[in-house]
């Protein structure tokens, strides 16, 4: 009897939580026949996953909970977090708030989104709070991710991960590690969305090098265990790398303590907080290890 009561209470509580957020869960049509979910997070603002609106079709449409179809435009993309901010005129003021409640591993949450047919769908999930660095498909490390025990499925990407307090703990995405249901946590989203709102892109560091991944034969590892690095193909004139004395032919093996084996890793490490900082760059030059300190510049934006 006691079990039945607990069960029915849980059921009533999860249904009520879903009902509480339902009006702010929308559908985003950015790819033919494969609409994603989206979350209303501010006045006329929706977030969904970047990979869901890859092509920027002429008709980027948000279908509201009430069934209205509204034109949407892209306010900004953050490819690193796989999140995109949409401007949707006519959506109104009411929005969901991010939760600042902690989500230790084992916490329950509801993944609330829209099916391809547009119906509200919800799944109960046990969160695994993964602290980084976590590597994605492309080798880009994340500080923190929420791992879900559900997804991906149709309409999964862009779903809200809702905590019992009704707040959003993150956004669900299938675009970071294919085949795995993950969530970008709210604290990462907040910073990114502020930048997207203001500038349409996230602030990025800049060194001024082009490079290709290369393997380091054992003899040429300069005493380190690093088996790969980035061969510098070009250095832009007067760029931070140029000023710091980086040479064409150098092999970059480390940046601020992180191993470099892929240009995408370097792209990801050029975060806003490193702009203006002097950062150690580990280099193999002529077979010998060397440290070059580079003052990270800012990538020009609009």
């Amino acid at each position: 009897m006691a079990t039945a009561t607990l069960f029915s209470e849980l059921s009533a509580a999860t249904a009520a939580t879903v009902a509480g957020v339902a009006s702010h869960i929308v559908q985003v049509h950015g790819r033919p026949r494969r609409p994603a979910s989206g979350i209303v997070i501010g006045r006329d603002r929706v977030i969904t996953t970047n990979h869901s609106v890859e092509w920027e079709d002429e008709h980027l449409i948000v279908r509201t909970a009430a069934g209205d179809k509204l034109r949407a435009e892209i306010a900004g993309r953050d490819p690193r977090l796989d999140v995109v901010l949409l401007r949707v005129a006519g959506l109104g003021d009411s929005a969901l708030a991010f939760s600042s409640a902690p989500t230790p591993t084992g916490s329950l949450a509801l993944v609330v989104g829209r099916t391809w047919a547009g119906r509200l769908q919800a799944r109960l999930t046990v969160l695994t709070d993964v602290t980084g660095p976590v590597r994605s498909w492309g080798g880009a490390p994340f500080d923190r991710l929420l791992s879900l025990d559900v997804g991906p499925y149709a309409g999964f990407s862009g779903s809200a991960i809702v905590l019992p307090d009704g707040g959003v703990a993150g956004i669900a995405t299938a675009g970071i590690f294919r085949g795995q249901g993950l969530g970008i946590p709210a604290d990462s989203l907040r910073n990114s969305l502020d930048a997207l709102e203001q500038h349409g892109s996230v602030r990025r560091g800049y060194l001024g090098v082009t490079s290709q991944p290369v393997r380091l034969p054992e003899r040429q590892r300069a005493g380190t265990s690093r088996s790969a690095g980035l061969l510098v193909l070009g250095v832009a004139a007067n760029s931070p790398a140029d000023t710091a004395g980086v040479l064409v032919g150098d092999i970059l093996v480390g940046f601020d303590g992180h191993d470099l084996d892929d240009p995408e890793t370097l792209l990801t490490l050029l975060t806003a907080d490193r702009v203006g900082r002097e950062v150690p760059l580990a280099v193999v030059r002529g077979g010998a290890p060397q440290q070059v300190n580079v003052s990270v510049g800012e990538r020009p934006r609009e």
Binding site: H51, R77, G138, R178, G179, T210, A228, E264, E302
Partner: protein, 214 residues
Amino acid sequence: MGVDTPARVLVVAPTPSLAADLAGLVRMAGFTVTGQAKGVEQKGIGAADVIVIAAGTSFASAKLPEGRGVVIVGIDTALTDSLLGNGAPAIGTVHADADAATLGAAIGAVAVGLSVRPSDVPERRSFGNGRRAATVSDGDDDTEMIEEPEPLTARELDVIDALAQGLSNRAIAGRLGISEHTVKFHLASIFGKLGVTTRTSAVRRALRRGLIHL
């Protein structure tokens, strides 16, 4: 998928992180990973039934042990031709963004000797027009060379640079002083030249080719 003994898989990729990601997918698909390597000549091959290779892996000097099926992750016609020339009994091709289920299906197919490919990728029967394949080809002197990647124009390089920053089409149009329509035209051309279908993979490939300043 119900095979009695799941195939054992060797994962080969040009970088350790890519190999680790692929190995994760292979495990997710229910197979055993016997090893991760940068070339098929390395250890771990003895126990493997199937080799999963990332597109772009250098295969110039490698020899394929007999009887092993191969799954290529990503479209790499040169690698496909090279494997055909080295006597791979079955070759599976999946798109670079294939999920665990798709990759698993391809592994299962080549493990039993079937070649598989996505419906939108043309079949490669022999080794007619690949430069690497030409070294192992005997009678076929087809001289058509399609291996050199087509270079990007200066404008396309501007566009890919903006893509790397995550700019939207409108923002790119604004920055370069061109119309959104023209941006889309450039994107389509870039995607074609790089052999990709998404912005993310275009940026990834351009980065690896050293086309984007970081």
